[in-house]
């Protein structure tokens, strides 16, 4: 008997379809507690060094090759030891600082546990407005749950978001290598950083902004302790302390207390030392010189093109077309700080001097902010301070402020497609 084509047809199609759909429902697992993600930065950094050395082998002279091979071998050993190092450091730092859901606020940090509690943990939503988990509601997408500047959205931003763990901040009232004051952090949260992806959170209630400031400090301190542990891992005293702290119970407590004493509270080298002195390191603002604004701008122009040295980077046109650096290039001859700014696994980004003709100035732009920036330079990104007397900085401020409008005559307005009645 001849089978009509139609007979088997639907079932075959159906089976194929069903199989396909079942295959798409592959397994899934979930854990309930959130953890700070293990830092991948050291690993990526070491790996990248190895890759570069590998690449350089091809062009190196024969006598150099042996050295390079030794370096590679050492680095590979370091890479091999990293997981164990990471395990120990992570365990100890977690024991000291808790998890993102349940942060521990050490009294040595001087942070306010209530504020931290408001900012930490999962976002809680209710119809009266949200009251908990502020960090994860507003910040985590870019800055990451560990504050490492590597949230899911981070990679796509230009410039990359701040990695709090290094304790470096750009826009502050204090000097180079100093920590920002609470007011500085608050201002950044309120005003945002114009010209970057950091938006303004001005409309959040003051208490929420304070809580977030506190949490940023918490993440920063935590990260700095973590970094210090990595750096000093092989130091004699530290090694014993770490081994002791890995023990459970009271025996371990003693060593943990030692770590806090040594790494956090120590007045000279402790992580808290710089945080505690921030308020005393605010840069003094001298009074404005008594000159007309036109005159001041003229003087500023002379400094800009002369002894200030601004043109080197910002260019003759002041459009930021002088010199360009790459933030993420670890071979760059910049300071170590630059290397550490972002996750090395991100693609490199050009560190461009600002186009000063553009009406947007990056960061807070009150006169007083510009004064401090031009007086100090910008920490961590390599903008140096011009070597000029403090009162002349005001001229530079006035000149920079006038740049966007220098050639901007308010001309006749275009006619509009509206009619008044």
């Amino acid at each position: 008997m001849k089978r009509t084509l139609s007979k088997a047809r639907p079932s075959v199609l159906a089976l194929v379809t069903l199989a396909a759909s079942l295959a798409s429902l592959a397994g899934c697992d979930q854990s309930s507690q959130a953890y700070f993600t293990a830092t991948s930065a050291p690993k990526a950094e070491i790996q990248r060094s190895i890759d570069r050395l590998d690449a350089s082998l091809a062009t190196a002279k024969d006598e150099q090759k042996e050295d390079i091979r030794t370096s590679i071998k050492n680095l590979e050993e370091e890479l091999g030891a990293l997981p164990e190092k990471q395990r120990i450091v992570t365990t100890i730092v977690d024991a000291m600082f808790g998890t993102p859901d349940k942060p521990i606020v050490l009294s040595a940090t001087g942070l306010d546990a209530n504020k931290i509690r408001l900012a930490a943990g999962p976002t809680t939503a209710n119809q009266d407005g949200n009251t908990g988990g502020l960090y994860r509601r507003h910040c985590v997408h870019c800055h990451g749950v560990a504050g490492n500047g590597a949230g899911p959205t981070a990679e796509f931003l230009n410039p990359y978001p701040r990695d709090f763990r290094h304790g470096w901040f750009k826009f502050k009232s204090t000097g180079i290598n100093e920590k920002p004051t609470d007011d500085d952090l608050r201002r950044i949260l309120r005003e945002g950083i114009n010209g970057t992806a950091m938006p303004s959170f001005k409309l959040l209630p003051a208490a929420e902004i304070d809580a977030l400031v506190e949490y940023v400090k918490y993440l920063s301190i935590r990260g700095e302790v973590e970094n210090t542990l990595y750096k000093r891992f092989d130091d004699d005293g530290i090694k014993e302390m770490l081994a002791g702290a890995m023990k459970g119970g009271e025996a371990g407590d003693e060593f943990r207390a030692l770590i806090i004493e040594d790494l956090l509270s120590d007045e000279a080298t402790g992580v808290m030392a710089t945080w505690k002195r921030a308020n005393e390191r605010i840069v003094e603002v001298v009074p404005r010189p008594e000159v007309s604004s036109e005159e001041s701008i003229q003087k500023g122009r002379e400094i800009f093109y002369g002894k200030g040295g601004c043109v080197q980077c910002h260019g003759d046109s002041a459009m930021g077309d002088g010199q360009t650096y790459y933030v993420n290039d670890i071979d760059a001859t910049r300071s170590n700080a630059i290397k550490q700014l972002v996750n090395p696994s991100f693609p490199m980004q050009a560190l461009k001097p600002r186009n000063l003709r553009y009406t947007v100035i990056r960061g807070p732009s009150r006169d007083i902010d510009l004064y401090r920036r031009l007086r100090n330079g910008i920490d961590a990104v390599g903008m140096p301070a011009p070597t000029i007397p403090p009162e002349e900085v005001w001229h530079l401020v006035d000149y920079v402020k006038s740049l966007p409008y220098e050639f901007n005559e308010p001309g006749p307005t275009q006619s509009e497609n509206t009619r008044a009645n």
């Binding site: 507003h138 997408h141 959205t153 796509f156 009232s173 004051t181 609470d182 007011d183 005003e191 945002g192 114009n194 992806a197 938006p199 303004s200 001005k202 409309l203 308020n279 605010i282 603002v285 009074p287 404005r288 009406t359 947007v360 732009s365 009150r366 006169d367 007083i368 004064y371 402020k401 006038s402 409008y405 901007n408 308010p410 006749p412 307005t413 509009e416 509206t418 009619r419 008044a420 009645n421």
Partner: protein, 282 residues
Amino acid sequence: MGKAKYWSIVYLMVPIFGVGLFVAAPALRMWLPADVSEHGHTIDHLFVFIMYLTGAVFVATECALVWYLWKYDSKSNPAPTKFTHGSHSLEVVWTILPAATLLFIAIYQINAWADQKLVRRAPVESVGPDGVRGTADDVPKAPIAEVTGRQFEWRIRYPGPDGVLHTRDDLLDVNDLHIPVDEELVLVIKSEDVLHSFFLPNFRVKQDVVPGMKQKVWFKAVKGSEGRSYDLVCAELCGWGHYKMKGRVTVDTQSDYRAWLEKLSFEQHKTSEPPPATAEEQ
């Protein structure tokens, strides 16, 4: 037998709950948000007018549907099929009636649209684009501020003492727009990067901002709204942080508004700050 017709009850739920939910909506605080603009009531009026009109049609058609389903169930209604292919006169009636209604709505609303998007009222005393104060009827009023959308915030620029935008004395702020009460005012809105939409729910204002174009919006905050703040919403998808673009419009009395501008100016130009020691201890 004959129970099948109870299926029509399912469809009866549509007009019952449909109307019921709208009746309950104000109690659920789900109604048009408070209107504090001068022109907003025309939009609200139109909305409510259309709501009653469509509501009536909705109830009538849904009820007819349910009634026919109920009545002409094959199991319980022995009457034979009314064999007809239609009715020319009925078709004419239900073509002309809705057509007339729709045309009426169309014409009825044109003025409201023109008022908000086409005809900008000149104030009694106005500052022209040349900066000259005057009372000429055909001089559109100068904008009181420029609002620039960028990913993901609203940058605000007041013209400063000289009343002209993009000069050195401009005052800058972000997300926090202040406007004077009871004054017909104009805002320039534009975009620095992608599309955004300037949406003030309480003022019934919405205008997309398009990079490369300068849009203007105008409205008037009514008396009684001073001292309050209203949301400024971005209503056009502008990227991953679209939801973050929250701004605020605060309506001030004339004196408060001037004080606000002065405060902005003071902040921008001050040369010293009190030490933060006290803030640290709070």
